[in-house]
Amino acid sequence: MNKTLLLARTMLKMQYSMAGKSSSEKFGIILVIIMVIPFGGMFFWFVDSLIGSMYEQLSATNNQNIILGLLFISMTFLLLFVSLASILSSFYFSEDIEGFMTYPFHPYQLMAGKAAAPFLSLYLTSGVLMVPILLFYGIHSEAGVLYYLAAFLIFIVFPIIPFTVMAVILMFFMRYANIAKNKDRTKLFAGLLTFVFVIGINIVLRLNQDTGQTAADITALIQEQDGFLKLITALIPTAYFSTKSLTDPFSLTGSSFLLIMYGLTFIAAVIFFSTGQKLYFKGVQGLTAGNKNRFNKAKITAAIKPQPLFISLIKKELKIIFRTPTFFMQCVAQSLFGPVFLIVILIFENSSGALGSIGTLLEQFEGKTSILILFIFSLLILGANPASYSSISRDGKSWSFNLHMPMRSTTVVYSKVVTAWLINLLSLILLAAVGIFMAKLPLVLLVIWIVLSLMASWFTSLVGTIFDLHSPKLNWTDEQEIFKARIIGLIALLLELGTFGIMVFLLWHLDTVNGIWAAALVLGGFLALVIGLCHFILHKTIHRHFQRS
């Protein structure tokens, strides 16, 4: 047990240590904490009013526990998704495991150590959403101390089962991925397959819910005790058990369901460790070993072809991103997940005819309003742009190569900005496809939206690269460190959303700007202005950085 704790502590320290962080990054963390306070206040106010009005509506038919049911169902999906990303990165893509494997540790001990970082993300995620909702539900239902105690106990165990389910699935995938010839490619494939799996579950659930429930059926269910709850939690028993244990924590039923949850969690833990003991090492042994290609002289000769340095640099960046599992998952897969998820949901919703009406719905708005809505939407999808805030850090110790080679610093840095922009372009193409083929947006609106999104994407690529160039993380031993425990991604996103949030808010309320063209012109002008400003800052940063390093 001591060794397991030691492992967990060491692994956490390596990922979240403040050592080596520049003072500007530390300042950034403080800044984010300060910024979180007003956002937190607004969030709490929003949750309070949401829960309050839902409670009022649902308690009329004595179905108020649906709020808890919905909370636990959505949390299960969210936790499955967060687990997927963090288990893959911590258990399989992080190659420091090879360093630990030479020590006399059991696979389960290493797994427990490796699980520390994913669990931190899981509790953080559920803390942000579950705590306020459970709290306000308690306040609105005028619950006693026992409710809060039960809520706390549920909060502790709830993330464990989704985590275990995802971990066991991944262990099976990776066990077989690891015997494949091209390990990097198979690791990527296994990761993507699991993304598809998560989306698949969602579809199955949706189809299951849409099996022609008539209004009469629903009414009957609402009248039946817990009928509606049973319907929505049909496929996720833990959501049902958790809801039941909190609905009436004083009763024998309530405490029995709480006990059931603890029993299930215990079983999940046993399954997790025993599966891990059997499969984990098989999934990671030879993780860094690669395959040899068959030598083909013609291919070698064909590969030798001169091209402009700028193009060569961009191709190099793209190859490295697409071939490194961590970079691929963080920069490409995660940013595509949003648009792909949206498309899948929309396709299945489309059967009810809801989607085709988006175009018509937007047409009903004034032109200005529709473009503002679409613009904020694409900024949310494109804003995070991890390829931009990892631009410089991705090079790691190879960064010095850029310094001793006869390449202009601006050429090197701009090749990275273009790379980040190109990766965002993939998401944008998918969104545009939704706009054209599924939502059937009017042509003018579509063209303006795409042009503005392309500009916004260039802006986010610049902002991320400036931040990363300002305080790059080059001394990483594992690619994960670039993305974890670094605050610059969040700062960049907040800055982008803050800048454009204010702009859109002003435009929305400004009566002098009317019509789609005027709004587009003002937005485009503002974008051009901030892009110009970013170019100026980037040049200054390049000059300063290449002077001092």
């Binding site: 990097d184 860094t288 070993a289 690669g290 395959n291 040899k292 290609n293 068959r294 030598f295 083909n296 291919k299 070698i300 000769t301 590969a303 030798i304 072809k305 001169p306 091209q307 402009p308 340095l309 060569s312 190099k316 190859k319 490295i320 071939r323 490194t324 110790k397 190879s398 010095s400 190569f401 310094l403 001793h404 080679m405 006869p406 390449m407 202009r408 002077q547 001092r548 390093s549």
Partner: protein
Amino acid sequence: MITINNVTKKFPGNTAVSNLDLTIPDGKIFGFLGPNGAGKSTTIKMITGILPIDEGEITINGFNIASHPMEAKKIFGYVPDRPDVFLRLKGIEYLNFIGDVYDIPKDIRQEKIEYLTKSFGIYGSLSDHIQTYSHGMRQKIVISGVLLHDPDVWILDEPLSGLDPKSSYTLKEMMREHADKGNTVFFSTHVLEVVEQLCDEVAIINYGKLEFRGNMKELKEQFEAEQTLEKLFLELTSHE
């Protein structure tokens, strides 16, 4: 020729290189020696433009690395102490990329890639990712990349570490040939046998200061004549 003129480099709480004056002449193989942490790599990083110079100046064939970096960088080829660059690229992609950096015409590129990689025995592995290479193979692909554009000045940081005897011999032959043509070869090493066998001149640095500069004969004359290089080295670098 490399001229290091009164160069100082400070890190917080530590002066890594202090008032270093050194000229590395053409036509000679110049060995740069010193114990771990003596300031060898810091000096090399300043010569190659990786680290900025705090005081003094460095010129390579007359071009100041700080004020004319592009001109200076086109003249030299640098083999770093760690050959782990761009591991996810294939060997051939890496060399082609270097070809693009130095604008090497296609026919020369093809000819030189084939010649160099065959000399080092890695031609058959060019379509593999560098990540799958052993340490020695990575060293060889980096050296091949450096020699691809035929630089006048070679700067090599521990170039022989990890190389098998045959490749080590090939590289030493290449270094000798390059210096004999009137070019500059500057390399750091810990292997004293190599220094004895290969170097025309040596400089020994310790605590960031130059302890000795001269040829092997002068080195032995300055100390007792029949000592081995190992004893000389230990004697020179042992004092505080």
